[in-house]
Structure formats: C-alpha cells, structure tokens
C-alpha cells in the first residue's frame, strides 16, 4: 500500500490518499497528520498521470536513438503514465505483428502504458491502406492510426481511411503537410527564411490539408485528429470545424508553444523540427487556442535523434526534438504561469482529453475512490534547470538545454506502483 498525505489536487483541495491493488482505495480530506510510512506531499500537487498521444520511440529499427525502455523511462521522468508510439519505425508499425511487438516491449518495460499507433498506409507509402482492422483486433488494440512524419496527402486514401476506421471507433491522426508545397522545406517560410536563405515551409501547406481533412471528416462523419498544429490559421480552421460540429480534435506540442523561428537564425539544427517553429503571432494563437479548448491536447512529438544527426550543418540534420521530460514544465511556463489556464485545464489538456480521444480507459481519470492509480506528484513552486546530458531519453536533442523551467516532478505512480520516487526511477519497477 502507498499512502500520500496532504496533497493538493488541481482544484486546490488537500487530501490524504491510500493506494493498493492498482487503485485508489481511500481518499479523504487531509487530516494534517503525517503517517510515518506515507509520502509527505505538503506543498505538492497530485495530478492524474499525463497521457501523450504522439511519441517516437524508434524501436524497432533505430535502437541507437531510443528504445521502448528508454522512452518509457523518459516518459515517467516527465510525468507520463501513458504514451503512444508513432508508426514510423523500421519496419513500419503497419501490421499486427509489429504493433504487438511494441506493445509487449512496453509491458516488459513496465513503467507506463505504451500504446502503439498504427500506420494508415503500408510502409507509410501513402498509396495503400495498411491492415487497420488487424491492428485494431490485435492485443495492442490500436485505435489511433497515423502516417506521422508523412502526410496522407492523397485525398482519396484519406477519405477511405477516415471511413474505414469507423468500424472500430478508430481515429486518423493527420500530419498535415502538403508535400508539393514543402519540397526540401527547412523552416517556416517568412521573414527569417527570406533573410537566412533556407527553403521555406509555408503555413498554408499545413492549413490546406487541415481544411481539406475537416471537410472530409464532415462528409464521411468520422473522427479526425490533427497532429502538431502550428499555425494561427490552423487554429481558426479547427475552431470553425468545431462550431460546425465536425468531429475534429487537435494537438499542440510544447515547443510550438514556446519557441519561434527567430531561433533558426544561427542555423543550429537543435531547432530543426517538422512542422517548423513558427512566428510569435502563431505561438500566441496556439496558446489561446489551447486555453480556449479549440486545441484539445498537448502532445510531445518526442522525436529522439542520435548526436550525429544534429551535430552537422542545418540541411543535413534530422527534424525533431525530444520532449517527454520537459513537456509538463513548458506547459506550466507558457500556460499556467501566464494565467491562460488553470491547473484543472492543464490536467484536462495533458491527461483527461488525450485519454478520452484515444480511449485509454485506465488513464486520465478523476482522482477519486476506486479510480486507477496512475498519478503524479509535482512541486509547482520549484524550478529546475534542463541539462541535456541528464535526460533519461537515449537522445539528447532538447531545445531547452540550460533553460530554467517551473514544476518539479517528484513521484510517479503507475498501476499502483511507485515508478519514480523522489525524482529517481525506481529500480526493479520494470518487473
């Protein structure tokens, strides 16, 4: 049994809780008495474990960048109790066999739920549907399908995919990038790209696909999820779609909530990411969209890359940033400290909503008696300095290195077990 005393919930109430057999067995108003065998949570907040719908784990294929185990360790360190591995591994997660392999690796790691996302098309080729039904029926019970990294650009294939997944209440997560408008694109197209001479990735290339796909989703009455929304125009399109009752959800990454394309000025590939960092105007629109709920969730797009893929000139470098371990802190900084969102809003955008979208039943639950014990304890008043070499992720490509960020995660409870205790991964938690 685990006892936690004097913890503050998102609604600011103080509670004592007891956990056993994977669930919360007791929750009471804090007595103020510290039990000798309990965790003293005075000054800390108890929140449901975070849920990520966009994680690149690189296994199978690029275990030098990240494995399911190291990715799980990074996830737990960042307060996540569920992550969703993107399909662009090698081989691609486009069959029941591959998604079951990843699912089992997640179970073996045992630190958090690892839910595979299946590819929409075979080999991410954009031409022929993968066996979506087989992945849905597998032990991994895949419900989210995405060719992320690539856009399902063929409108007919996108339409068919949206229709087909209705059978098992699936959802298509679209990487919105019109390929012809982004040939060799390296960064946001605008003032900075004009000056520094890198081929531009225009906002319109994202918005054109979002507009098309929300209309398709409306037409076939299916569920669409927009991955990593980055533009002010995209926020407006999703707002419009929601007003029309179209079943569209959208995510934003922490890095797009904080960083802008001005950072590309020095050509340091640590800032190279797809979709690219946009302008301050976009950043502000994304923050407002997230606060308003037009953007439903925060997703990390955790994209590990080995050192050599960033220690080079810009155009040779890989796209992507790691994000699992900094996500919560960046959201606190950009959304809570700025008073755009409450702590309850944060819990909604980082835990409740993502679990609902994906159908992760044991995640994102209200903290109450008999609810699953997937919980995190954080010190909201403390801050920490990001040090790339101390990240648990196998790859160190964080754009937040040496930045001081608010919110320190001390403990993580997954399925009723402590997997992070006083900021340290618990040995043997991967039983």
């Amino acid at each position: 049994m685990i006892k936690i005393n004097n913890a503050k919930l998102a609604d600011a109430s103080l509670v004592d809780i007891e956990i056993s057999n994977g669930v919360i067995t007791n929750i009471n108003k804090a007595s103020g008495i510290k039990s000798a065998d309990g965790i003293d949570a005075t000054g800390k907040m108890l929140l449901p474990g975070l849920v990520d719908l966009h994680t690149h784990l690189r296994e199978p294929g690029r275990e030098d960048a990240e494995t399911v185990l190291t990715g799980s360790q990074a996830a737990v360190s960042g307060g996540y109790t569920a992550i969703s591995s993107m399909a662009n591994t090698n081989p691609v997660a486009d069959t029941a066999g591959v998604v079951e392999q990843i699912f089992r690796l997640g179970k073996t790691a045992g630190l958090c739920d690892v839910n595979p996302i299946g590819a929409v098309t075979k080999g991410l080729n954009g031409e022929q549907l993968a066996e979506l039904g087989a992945m849905a029926d597998s032990i991994a019970k895949v419900r989210i399908f995405s060719d992320d990294g690539k856009c399902v650009s063929d409108p007919l294939i996108m339409r068919r995919a949206l229709e087909y997944v209705k059978t098992f209440n699936g959802i298509i997560a679209q990487h919105a990038q019109e390929p012809r408008l982004t040939i060799n694109a390296q960064m946001n197209e605008g003032s900075v790209s004009a000056r520094i001479g890198l081929p531009g990735w225009p906002a319109i290339a994202e918005e054109a696909i979002i507009a098309r796909d929300i209309l398709l989703a409306e037409h076939v009455q299916s569920r669409l999820h927009i991955c990593h929304l980055t533009t002010a125009g995209g926020v407006e399109l999703v707002r419009w779609a929601k007003q029309r009752g179209i079943q569209v959800t959208a995510e934003v990454t922490p890095h797009h909530l904080l960083l802008t394309d001005e950072l590309v000025e020095n050509y340091d590939p640590i800032y190279k990411v797809n979709p690219p960092l946009r302008t301050q105007k976009d950043v502000m629109a994304l923050r407002e969209g997230l606060a308003e709920g037009v953007i439903d969730i925060v997703a990390t797009d955790h994209a590990p890359h080995p050192a050599e893929d960033k220690d080079c000139e810009w155009q040779a470098a890989a796209f992507g940033m790691v994000g699992l371990e900094t996500s919560l802190s960046v959201v606190i900084k950009t959304m809570v400290e700025s008073k755009l969102m409450s702590w309850s809003d944060l819990v909604d955008r980082m835990s409740v909503k993502p679990a609902q979208i994906a159908g992760y039943e044991n995640q994102g639950q209200t903290i109450s008696k008999l609810s699953p014990a997937n919980l995190i304890l954080i010190d909201p008043a403390a801050s920490w300095q990001v040090e790339r070499d101390k990240l648990k992720s196998k790859s160190k490509n964080t754009p937040f290195d040496r930045m001081t960020l608010p919110g320190v995660i001390s403990d993580v409870i997954y399925n009723g077990k402590l997997v992070l205790s006083s900021g340290k991964l618990v040995n043997g938690s991967n039983e």
């Binding site: 003032s191 001479g197 050599e308 000139e313 810009w314």
Partner: protein, 316 residues
C-alpha cells in the same frame, strides 16, 4: 569581422566595410606593379574548402592568398554537400589537425559557414565563399568596390547610387549579400524579378521591389544581372527560358535605355543570350571583367584583415 570570421555582409559595420575597400584599393595598386607578391601572410595556411564546384571563386581566393604569400590548400569535396553531416564536421576537424589558419568555404547548405564558425570543430578564421541560398559576402565587397571605382571614386561611400539587381533573388546568395552591404554603404537598391523568384518576406528588406524591368532600367546607375539556373524552369518558377529572357534579360534595347554613365554587372558565370545578351556583356558599360579583377584585391584585403599579417605599410 569582430568575430574573426566573415560569414555575412551583415557582420561588417559600415566603417569596417569601407576600410576593407580602401585596403583592397591599396593592395590592388601594389599588385598592379611588376612584382605582384607581398610577403604579408608568409607561413599562414589558407584552405579553400569547396563542397560545390566554383572554379572562378576558388581561383580568385587562391590568387589572393598566394599574392600574400600564404600557403594554399585546395580541398574540393564534390557532390557531398547535403548528403551526410559528418562530411563537414570531419573535414573541418581534419583541417584543424593540419593547422589551417583560414578556411574559405563554399557549401550548398545555407548556414554551413556559420556552423563552422560557431562549433568547436575548427579554430581557424572562416570566410564564407557562398553558402547555399544565403550569402556570398566577398562577392558583395567586390561589387561595392567596382561600383565605387566607377561611380563614386572620390566620395566616401555609395550614397545615392541607384542599383538594380535583376533575376533569381529567391535563390541568390549574391543578392542577399549585396542588399545588406550596398544599402549599408548608402546605395538605393531595387530588386527586379518575377514574383516567383522573390522570397516571401522580402517586404522586410531595405529595398524597393519591382516586377517590371523596363520601368526601372532608365532610372538606375547600376544594373546587376543574376545568373538564372535552367532547372528553375522545370520547377515552374517561369514558363520558358525565352519568356524569361524577353521579360527580364538585358538585351540591346534595354541596354540603350541605360543612362550615360550607368554600368552593367554580372557575378558570373553568365548565360549569354539568356539573362544577358552578348552585346550587353561586351559593351563599354559592362564592368564584368573589372569585377573579376577586383575580386582578387578584395579577397586579399579580407585575408589580410582576418589573418592579421604585418602592417600594410611594412610590407611595401
């Protein structure tokens, strides 16, 4: 230049740029004499690191370095421009180990020179000899030198000179460096191109933009024609080379409209008959050969300033 490198025309203050131009002028005078060589950089090693073919820029730097008595190593790494990053890093570390004092780099990736300067890969002074579609600062210096030589010989800077830069601005490192440098020196720059070949965001530049060459040609003192790459046609930046040539080429009709003292420039290599007609290239108004000549003097000045040779007076 304060940083010890020349990566962008933006790195130069107006005074530094003018100082480089006057150093270049002195050096040009010396090398016009019977003995072209100065002992200034004896014992220094200059590496020409060219990831892209560019015979004229490379031999210009080579000539400049040799006239200052530096040892010159030409490192031509063809075809590996954007294949894999280790190329640049490993090459830089190799050159570092061999004791290069300056690296003149031409690379297909925008920002490659800046990366070389910012990373710990190499300690040498870095001179950007063209990085992707970003900049080519020594080209801008030699262009400024040439303009001054012909139009502002006795003035301090280029105040009031009206410069047209015509052609593929979007992909042109020459245009970016020239806009930065020439406007800093007081020139008024107008870019002329079809909208497809202008960057989104050009409105932030300190220039005027026009789509119509004919409406601008009579008003300018300098017309600088940029090389057009034929592969742009395949990517639909313009319909055909003939249409491009008709609308944006410098032909004899347009040449005749130029004011009396106007000069014609081109960074080379030229596509004769496409962006510039043979009669324009060979006309008395053309200073294209002067540009090549001045390129050596300007690059000598840059090497001289960066490698901190003996005082110029001492080497005479």
């Amino acid at each position: 230049m304060i940083s010890g490198h020349l990566l962008s025309a933006a790195d130069l203050t107006k005074d530094e740029a003018l100082n480089l131009l006057s150093t270049a002028k002195e050096l040009a005078a010396i090398t016009d004499g019977p003995n072209k060589k100065l002992p200034t950089l004896r014992g220094k090693t200059v590496v020409n690191l060219f990831f892209e073919d560019s015979t004229r820029t490379r031999i210009s730097f080579e000539t400049a370095a040799k006239r200052l008595s530096a040892d010159v190593i030409n490192f031509v790494a063809k075809g590996s421009s954007v294949s894999k990053g280790e190329g640049l890093k490993d090459t830089a570390q190799t050159l570092q180990a061999m004791g290069a004092d300056a690296v003149v780099i031409r690379h297909g990736s925008s920002g490659a020179a800046k990366r070389l300067a910012d990373t710990q890969w190499i300690q040498a002074a870095v001179i950007n000899a063209g990085d992707g579609t970003h900049e080519h600062p020594t080209q801008a210096l030699l262009d400024a030198f040439t303009i001054k030589q012909h139009l502002r010989k006795d003035e301090e800077d280029l105040t009031g000179v009206k410069v047209l830069i015509v052609g593929d601005i979007l992909h042109s490192r020459v245009a970016r460096s020239n806009v930065l440098l020439l406007t800093k020196l007081g020139a008024e720059v107008t870019l002329v191109a079809p909208p497809t070949l202008l960057p989104v965001g050009v409105s932030d530049w300190p220039v005027k933009v026009s789509y119509d060459l004919d409406s601008e040609i009579e008003k300018c003192d300098v017309v600088m024609m940029l090389r057009i790459q034929l592969e742009r046609m395949a990517d639909s930046f313009f319909p055909t080379e003939r249409e491009y040539s008709r609308r944006y080429g410098l032909n004899s009709t347009r040449l005749s409209k130029l004011s009396k003292n106007a000069i014609v420039m081109h960074p080379g290599p030229m596509n004769r008959g496409l962006e510039i007609s043979a009669e324009s290239a060979d006309d008395l108004k053309s200073v294209i050969i002067d540009q090549v000549k001045n390129g050596v003097a300007v690059r000598m000045a840059v090497l001289y300033e960066l490698l901190g040779g003996a005082q110029l007076g001492d080497s005479k």
